[in-house]
Symmetry: C2
Subunit: 113 residues, 2 copies
């Protein structure tokens, strides 16, 4: 019952950590958790479905590979379409956070007509 803030940012988070290079699912979760200072704890309930959705949309490509020690892993890498999607999501996120700031801080927007 934490909060609803995460809604709509999951694709951005996943694409964001994959920009640096190939990672497997479990590792993506760990990376997000670590970079956010444990504030964003990736539930597997949204992580895997998000990966599948992004793969289906062509934003990610994936391949199975055996792990050094343990079960096989599914490695994901970002595609050109994924990079475009990432850029869009970042733009949208920036615009939204700017708007929230303007509304709550009482600044008037000086954006486009």
């Amino acid at each position: 019952m934490r909060s609803q803030l995460l809604k709509g940012t999951t694709a951005l988070l996943v694409l964001g950590v994959l920009r640096d290079g190939e990672l497997y699912g479990y590792e993506i979760g760990a990376r997000i958790r670590e970079r956010s200072g444990t504030l964003i704890a990736p539930g597997e309930g949204w992580l895997y479905p998000t990966l599948h959705r992004l793969e289906a949309e062509g934003a990610l490509e994936a391949s199975w590979r055996d792990g050094d020690q343990g079960p096989r892993r599914r490695y994901y890498r970002i595609t050109a379409a994924g990079l475009r999607l990432l850029a869009d999501q970042e733009r949208e996120w920036d615009a939204f956070t700017r708007s929230v700031r303007q509304v709550t801080r009482g600044e008037l927007a000086d954006g486009p007509a």
Copy 2:
């Protein structure tokens, strides 16, 4: 079908515009719309329910008053509890947006243990 980003920020937006002073519901929506540069278009489907919820929680106080020209209006003002809630929500929002930035920009968190 726009996006889900708004989820969890509605209370923050409403409390934010009411910090300056008393406003009635319809006006709150217009203020949010205007300050966000029309990017956040307040649906009445969440605006009124949010006002009712915040009033029930004691974050807002409200009173009916006749409009100059038109239907009666319900004016809302923020309470002491509402100001505390606003501060909490702002803190949470700031922390969350900072985390998202750290994750997507690849910066490591240097936040609190």
